[in-house]
């Protein structure tokens, strides 16, 4: 099993949900109202006066087979609107209850 953490501008909220649905991924956890900024050129998302945008995080633990399709879907959305910001990180989920 792989854990995937998708961190994205809240404007992508429905896109991410669509992508999970498309890849038939049922389980996920979502945090609203998170802050952060990109490592290289990404804008800060602080929900402050200067940087009003907000981020959201969706985490899902998935079978490795569906991962490429999901990543491709997410990449597609990110490329459509690069300025909004969408990142996904994948790591091993060792034990699952």
């Amino acid at each position: 099993m792989k854990a995937i953490m998708i961190i994205y501008n809240q404007a992508h909220s429905s896109n991410v949900l669509d992508a999970l649905d498309k890849c038939s991924i049922r389980g996920f956890t979502k945090w609203e109202d998170v802050q952060g900024r990109g490592s290289s050129k990404g804008e800060p998302h602080y929900s402050s006066h200067a940087w009003p945008s907000k981020n959201m995080v969706t985490m899902a633990v998935v079978e490795p087979e569906v991962l490429p399709a999901l990543l491709a879907e997410l990449r597609k959305h990110n490329e459509e609107a690069e300025k909004q910001g969408l990142r996904a990180f994948v790591w091993e989920a060792d034990s699952v209850i």
């Binding site: 429905s14 006066h49 200067a50 609107a81 690069e82």
Partner: protein
């Protein structure tokens, strides 16, 4: 869930809620009645007390003074003035505006009840009248006839007045100028004396011979019959045959000593309409009834009424006060629509997209219609104030929607889905929108708390704008994002035609952005120069203020002129009539603008209060001239009035005259203003001298016309002085003798002649030829109780003399009011000139001259406005400081205010408008409107700075990106005001100064704000980074 989030997620609910508001608003609109102004309860009450036989001085001492002293304890009293003349004392009590008049009148009544016991015995109980606009007549109808002059009164009463009276809301209709039927028994004093008889005997015999007497009842078999003597006269001719008594065995009939005439009353008002004598029907409305509704009903009933009249009786509506109201309201409605179209064009021009324009424009009807709900709920009417308020608000309601839509568009362009963009973009600007809405409310809400005359006008304005702007903010936060999420697309396709049309506009806007960035860069480099020259400009504009005159209310043309012409007192009515005809023929050709001339002259028969309150006499002519609509003529009422004054001045026999542009119609600004100077002091002679000096000064002052003194000239009078001893010797009493004199000259009503259910007076008096000379009075025979006749000359004398003038009081002090009409000059300037000259006079001791009337009200309301301005500035500062969480930034934004005033002065000066109350209120509104630009600009500059840019870069980048929204919201507000500033249409002229001052102030301040505010901001913030570094260094040192 936040408002905008729910709105976007529940589009059906949102849409339906707003549809419900619109439907409710439209429903309210149909229920609203139309009126000229919000309901104004006039703040005056009058106490009238009669004391027959007392002279002006007696009345002053015994009645007026006593009542004034006790009435001045009534609460909320503003001013108390009085007029004491022969037989009557009239005290006028003015209250603060907004006082509950019912309570005030009750207070007055209780004071009067208390004082009743202390009044002289002969005085009648004081009567209280409540003045209000309600009492003003709403319609004048003239009636002319060629055949039916004798029966005109009856025809009019039955066929016109009675049907009109039945109309809902009509309080009374009265007929004047049609003399009423009267049966006169005109006695010959010589014959009467020969038979040793007095008029009073005839009177009692006629009365006795003209009555039905019930004579009880008798039982005949099983029935009871009542018996009745029908002694009433069946025809007026029967009076001739009434037996007076017998003399040397022969019966004497009335026809032997008198002539019986079935005729018309001798003295009556004569009404001449367009040269033809006729009658006038005055219609008054019930209080609380709506003028337009009643007038509509009357106009609907008139064709039927006309058809029922004999063919030669012509009815014509001379004055229909609803017409002016309707014209004003419809022209204002046009103004609102025109403003809406202009605003729409600006939005389309800047956005270049149909759908976005549609979404923004939708805010206008939704928020304006909400105002109708308010009007209906509070029982208000659709009037000049409420409609003008809509016209003021129309340019501002789109501002919030523009800001929201612009941000949503940016988000969509950056890749968000419309639905997400709508929620998150609205979220970003929600706080700014609420803050800028609050600044507008901070300006308009205090208006609802203004007191005084201005309060009545601006209360509704304050409420409507506050409500409309609040609704527009709610719309911008709910309906706008909802519609944006449904209608906006990521990449709107543009047709070729569109590109062809819009391309140049877009390029112009782009180059405008670039040009502004260059200019700003230059200004930031030359900060000192920019700030100093801006300061110089402001200081320079203050000098303009001295050149702009001040006025209370701008005058407006309501197509009416009122005139009063006074011939020397005692002029016979025939002579007056001749002059009237002459004037009509003269003016008919000279002023083709005048549609209807109506004059009334002669003694008033005062059957209604309105007529009775106007002074009347054989030497007086009052004119009402109705002109064509203001838009259809070149000369306004003020010019024509001035020409008329010249015409009248050229006629030597006229003692004095008064031309009142606007007529006697009540209302703000309709017609002209006048300057009033009060000469206060007890000594009559000194006061007369000073008043004449003041009058002379005023005559010499430019811009004043028709100077008039309130103390009337001494009137000639025949006084009969009885010798009490001689009266006593002859067994006569003073009252008895006086009554006889009155009966011979004025006549004595004995009883009433009844015919067809109508009653007519039967009057006994001396025949006209026996009452034309002083000798005739001296020859009057008075009979004592023993039946012995004594000539008046034996017990008294007739002296020609002058009656003392009436005595006026102002706040319990004797006063002479010197008034003059203002013509084509600012009231404030005239007052200052007159005051300067008056100060040079050396006044006798205990004399004082004060400015009063409009000037005083102007000063009061101007100082009210200044207080309001300070309050508004403070509130706006608080709102801004809360938004920026800073003391410094709102202070910087406040720098746009001086330039707003520069713009106001400049615009007023250029258009030659004077600074009136209306212009001032415009200036107060500007405080809220101009800081909005500053907020938008500084907010974005701050944002750039927080994102880490340098001050200079933040300013230039922020300025460039905010240029379009600033220009757009400013242009919508300015264009929304343009129809108002041009004063299109009747009745809306009074708002012209407001439009002019807002346009002037907003344009100048916007242009300067765009340059000066960023410059000042830079100067204030340039040290920020250095300061931070220093603090940092200190910490780590």
């Amino acid at each position: 869930m936040k408002l905008y989030e729910s709105a976007v997620k529940k589009p059906v609910t949102t849409a339906l809620i707003f549809i419900a508001i619109v439907v409710l608003g439209l429903f309210s609109y149909t229920k609203l009645s139309v009126d000229l102004y919000p309901e104004i309860e006039l703040n005056m009450a009058t106490v009238m007390t009669t004391y027959s036989g007392a002279s002006a001085a007696d009345i002053e001492l015994n009645l007026t003074k006593r009542l004034e002293t006790s009435l001045s304890t009534v609460s909320d009293l503003k001013k108390i003035s009085s007029n004491s003349k022969d037989n009557v004392s009239i005290i006028t009590i003015e209250f603060e505006y907004g006082t509950n008049m019912d309570e005030a009148v009750n207070d007055i009544r209780s004071v009067l009840d208390f004082q009743k016991n202390y009044l002289p015995d002969g005085a009648e109980s004081p009567v209280v009248f409540k003045y209000s606009t309600e009492m003003m007549p709403i319609m004048f109808i003239s009636a002319r006839t060629s055949q039916n002059a004798q029966g005109l009164y009856k025809i009019l009463e039955e066929k016109v007045a009675n049907p009109l009276n039945r109309i809902d809301g009509v309080a009374s209709t009265s007929i004047s100028g049609a003399p009423q039927r009267e049966i006169q028994i005109l006695t010959d004093p010589q014959k009467m004396q020969a038979y040793n008889m007095a008029d009073e005997q005839i009177a009692s015999l006629v009365a006795a011979g003209n009555s039905n007497i019930p004579a009880g009842s008798i039982d005949v078999g099983s029935d009871t019959y009542s018996v009745r003597v029908n002694g009433e006269l069946k025809e007026s001719d029967q009076i001739n045959d009434i037996i007076l008594g017998s003399y040397q065995g022969r019966n004497i009939f009335i026809k032997d000593v008198a002539v019986v005439k079935d005729t018309l009353k001798e003295r009556a008002t004569q009404v001449v309409t367009n040269g033809v004598t006729g009658a006038m029907i005055v219609v008054q409305k019930q209080s609380g009834a709506n003028v337009v509704d009643i007038a509509d009903k009357i106009n609907k009933a008139l064709p039927d009424i006309k058809a029922s009249l004999p063919p030669d009786v012509k009815l014509e509506v001379i004055l229909d006060s609803s017409e002016f109201i309707k014209d004003s309201i419809s022209s204002l409605t046009e103004t609102v629509v025109l403003a809406g179209i202009l605003v729409m064009l600006v939005v389309l021009l800047f956005l270049g997209r149909w759908r976005a324009t549609f979404i923004i424009i939708l805010t206008i009807p939704v928020s304006l219609i909400a105002a109708f709900i308010y009007l209906m709920v509070t029982g208000n009417t659709l009037n000049i104030i409420s409609l003008s308020s809509l016209s003021i608000a129309i340019g501002m309601v789109v501002d919030d929607a523009i800001v929201v839509l612009e941000n949503i568009t940016t988000h969509i362009e950056r890749g968000s889905k419309p639905k997400d963009a709508a929620i998150y973009a609205t979220n970003e600007v929600a706080v700014a929108i609420i803050a800028s809405t609050l600044t507008i409310i901070a300006v308009f809400f205090p208006l609802t708390m203004v007191t005084g005359l201005a309060g009545i006008m601006f209360k509704q304005l304050g409420w409507i704008v506050t409500i409309v702007i609040s609704v527009s903010a709610i719309v911008a936060l709910s309906l706008t994002p909802m519609l944006a999420s449904k209608l906006l697309t990521k990449d709107p396709k543009r047709s070729k035609l569109f590109n062809l049309l819009y391309g140049p506009i877009e390029r112009t806007l782009d180059s405008l952005d670039r040009g502004y960035a260059y200019l700003l860069t230059w200004a930031l480099r030359n900060r000192a120069l920019v700030i100093i020259s801006a300061a110089m400009l402001f200081i320079g504009s203050l000098f303009l203020l001295a050149r702009v005159g001040t006025d209370f209310f701008p005058a407006s043309d309501n197509a009416q002129i009122g005139l009063t012409i006074e011939l020397p007192v005692g002029t016979r009515v025939e002579h007056t009539r001749k002059l009237n005809t002459y004037l009509y023929n003269l003016w008919k050709d000279k002023y083709p603008e005048i549609e209807i001339y109506q004059s009334s002259l002669g003694q008033s028969d005062g059957s209604n209060i309105f007529m009775a309150m106007r002074s009347s006499g054989t030497y007086l002519i009052t004119y009402t001239a109705r002109l064509t609509k203001a838009s259809k003529r070149e000369r306004d009422i003020f010019e024509i009035s001035d020409e008329m004054r010249k015409d009248l001045a050229a006629i030597p026999e006229i003692y004095r005259f008064e031309v009142t542009p606007g007529g006697s119609n009540m209302g703000f600004g309709s017609g002209g203003t006048s300057l009033e100077m009060d000469v206060l002091g007890y000594n009559m002679k000194d006061a007369d001298t000073v008043a004449n000096q003041v009058a002379n000064i005023m005559r010499k002052t430019e811009g004043l016309r028709d100077i008039k003194l309130s103390r009337e000239n001494y009137t000639p009078q025949l006084q009969i002085e009885f010798d009490r001893e001689k009266l006593a010797m002859n067994g006569l009493t003073m009252t008895g003798a006086a009554t006889v004199v009155r009966n011979r000259i004025n006549g004595l009503i004995t009883s009433r002649f009844r015919e067809d259910g109508e009653e007519y007076d039967i009057v006994v008096k001396n025949e006209l030829k026996y009452r034309t000379e002083i000798e005739d009075i001296k020859n009057i025979v008075i009979y004592n109780s023993r039946g012995k006749g004594v000539r008046l000359s034996e017990v008294g004398d007739v002296i020609e003399g002058f009656a003392p003038p009436s005595i006026d009081h102002q706040d319990r002090e004797r006063v002479i009011k010197v008034t003059g009409f203002v013509y084509k000059r600012a009231l404030g300037d005239i007052a200052a000139d007159v005051q300067k000259e008056v100060d040079k006079l050396s006044l006798p001791p205990l004399m004082d001259v004060e400015v009063s009337g409009s000037v005083q009200e102007q000063q009061e309301s101007f100082s009210d406005m200044l207080t309001l301005l300070l309050l508004v500035v403070m509130l706006v500062y608080i709102v801004m400081a809360a938004q920026f969480e800073s003391f410094r930034d709102p202070f910087i934004i406040m720098f746009s205010l001086p330039f707003a005033f520069t713009g106001v002065f400049l615009a007023l000066w250029l258009t030659g408008t004077s600074l009136s109350l209306i212009a001032l209120i415009g200036a107060v509104m500007l405080v809220g409107i101009v800081v909005k630009n500053g907020i938008v600009l500084i907010d974005y500059i701050n944002l750039n700075k927080e994102r880490g840019a340098t001050v200079r870069k933040s300013v230039i980048k922020g300025g460039k990106s905010r240029l379009r929204p600033v220009l757009m919201t400013t242009l919508t507000t300015i264009l929304g005001m343009i129809p108002m500033a041009m004063g299109i249409g009747e009745g809306s002229e009074i708002w012209q100064p407001m439009g002019i001052s807002i346009i002037g102030g907003l344009s100048i301040s916007t242009i300067l704000t765009l340059i000066v505010i960023p410059t000042i901001y830079t100067s204030f913030h340039v040290g920020d980074i250095k300061r931070k570094r220093r603090a940092h260094a200190k910490k780590h040192a």
